[in-house]
Amino acid sequence: MYVAVKGGEAAIGAAHELLAKERRGALDVPELTTAQIREQLALAVNRVMCEGSVYDPDLAALAIKQARGDLIEAIFLLRAYRTTLPRFGASVAIDTSSMQIRRRISATFKDLPGGQVLGPTFDFTHRLLDPQLAEAAPAASPQRADPGDDIRAARVTALLGGQGLIEANAKADGEPPVGDLTRDPIAFPADRDLRLQALARGDEGFLLALGYSTQRGYGRTHPFAGEIRMGEVEVVFKPDELGFEVSLGVITITECEMVNQFKGSADKAPQFTRGYGLTFGHSERKAMSMALVDRALRARELGEEAVAPAQDEEFVLSHCDSVQATGFVEHLKLPHYVDFQAELTLLRQLRSEWDEARGGEAAASSRGEAAE
């Protein structure tokens, strides 16, 4: 005799324990420490901080460990943590032109003040699996060109801007105040500040694909990498109660400025246009993809016809958040048997009407044993 299924609660408990066991893996292998993740899987940590919208390498490393390496799950952990944090206010806008540069390249000029600084990059490595890495190797000690001054340099876009060749950014004077989509739901059409915020938190893979599509003609913007710079900037906060600025410390960021298709109009001289990308930590692919998509989303603002997916603001911004996306996709695993039952009932009714209409007996005999 059928007994109503019970035991969901016990099942969940057992599932959690099993997960913890799988997470640990084989006991004769040393347990991973969060410090190891933070130091040696830094690019994963960077992605999690960026999309998780929290700058804290230790927490990001913990999230990655807890998520067993699933970066979207780790991003989710960080986002959920972020929800609980009190909000003191907004920092002063960071000044990337005074960045302490560790890497800085420009594809638009062969050489420029400050130089091309390759820094730590996979670019120009040969993608050959290195078995030596399977063993612990002695630490490399790279040569420094000049053991002395920090590298600081003006941005390429500032150089072009000085000659009036590139559009100026809107003045950041606090009017109107910068939007925050974690405080107010986004409404379409959205202004650039909210778009950039959504893109900064957006899934790297999705933005990479969209950026790629623009290069292949789906909303072409003729991009040049004006500048990609990575290094440290200071974060400064001015609490109302104190009335003066306080330094909160230093963070690593990656900034990408694309120089795009020039435009002009009846009352404006032709100029290059911009695309902008910014990430926490060293995260070039994301910064570049973000800049490509930012420019594509400015189509209407720049008087271009918006026909490609990367130019469709509602499409891009509604679907770029990996946490939302994975939540909804994976929710299909939840029971849906009630709605399915409703569909089954209707379908059975429609089938019987179909059979009746086409000569019930003949249909029944050719169908053989009915499911009923």
Binding site: Y2, A4, V5, K6, G7, G8, E9, A11, I12, F76, R79, A80, R82, T83, T84, P86, L181, T182, R183, D184, P185, A187, F188, P189, E314, V323, Q324, T326, G327, F328, V329, E330, H331, L334, P335, H336, Y337, V338, D339, Q341, A342, E343, L344, T345, L346, Q349, L350, E353, A371
Partner: protein
């Protein structure tokens, strides 16, 4: 169970609850209208009830008794998970008995038991916009609601009848609220639609991922969309629950063997258990 002191009552901070309550009040003032709100990331994934949870967290008080069901059952894994979440973060009493609950959070079903004025029903909503699959663009659907421009909704119903002879929507069946807004009741089976009409309880709808809250104040008129010559009919239930004998309740089909054997039991597990416990001595 006492609440975990590391969290504010029901997890959300007071500012956030205030923001959600404002949205709820607006929603109650405009029955069926989708109020945008700044949905927070919760420790559960989007799509798994975060909207319902935020609404529940905002209305929950220390003396409330909470029931959580999914597909009508208290013991489905997600219902268990959500109930434990509130037990842990709010320390509230929980129950599986509909009659004892003051707040019922539900996914995809309305309890069979008649609700009272003392109760709040919180629905988990995946896609709040009834016009979404006819018109994907948000600014356009907002305009349609503002201008009460619902022709497209009826076109869809017309198409169903032309193609199938019936309106083919079996769940999330659209309704007209207080003779003004068209609303999606969430993916409850259309069998449950009549329960929303003139209901004594307050009905609140939370969509976390889509960031919308809407509401049906008690005793609001809720009418399922139809045609005069194809009137709305809740799904006819022809079988009885094989455990408690109830008829005219929504039944789950349980596959019992791989030769096509099946049986039907109440989807509302509390209703079923209550009936069975009344029968036994």
């Amino acid at each position: 169970m006492t609440a975990d002191p590391a969290y504010n009552f029901a997890y959300l901070d007071e500012q956030t609850k205030r923001m959600i309550r404002r949205a709820i009040l607006k929603a109650i003032a405009i029955p069926g209208y989708q109020v945008p709100f700044a949905s927070r990331e919760m420790p559960m994934p989007y799509g798994w009830g975060t909207g319902g949870m935020q609404v529940t967290a905002a209305v929950l008080g220390a003396n409330d008794v909470l029931k959580v069901i999914d597909q009508g059952a208290d013991d489905t894994t997600n219902a268990v998970s959500i109930r434990k979440f509130f037990a842990k973060t709010a320390g509230v009493a929980t129950t599986t008995r509909t009659r004892e609950a003051t707040i019922i959070q539900t996914r995809h079903r309305i309890p069979e038991e008649q609700l009272t004025q003392e109760q709040i029903l919180v629905y988990q909503v995946p896609i709040p916009e009834p016009l979404r699959f006819l018109e994907p663009r948000e600014p356009e659907t907002r305009r349609m609601h503002a201008l009460e421009d619902y022709g497209l909704m009826h076109v869809k119903l017309y198409e169903d009848i032309a193609r199938h002879g019936h309106i083919a929507t079996t769940y999330a069946y659209p309704v007209k609220v207080d003779d003004r807004y068209v609303m999606d009741p969430s993916p409850t089976p259309k069998f449950d639609n009549p329960k929303m009409d003139n209901c004594p309880a307050l009905q609140l709808f939370g969509a976390g991922r889509e960031k919308r809250i809407y509401a049906l104040p008690p005793y609001t008129r809720v009418v399922s969309l139809d045609f005069e010559d194809h009137p709305f009919e809740p799904t006819p239930i022809t079988a009885k629950c094989e455990l408690c004998g109830a008829d005219r309740v929504f039944l789950d089909e349980i596959v019992t063997d791989d030769r096509g054997g099946r049986m039907f039991v109440c989807s509302d597990t509390d209703h079923c258990e209550s009936r069975r416990s009344r029968v036994l001595p």
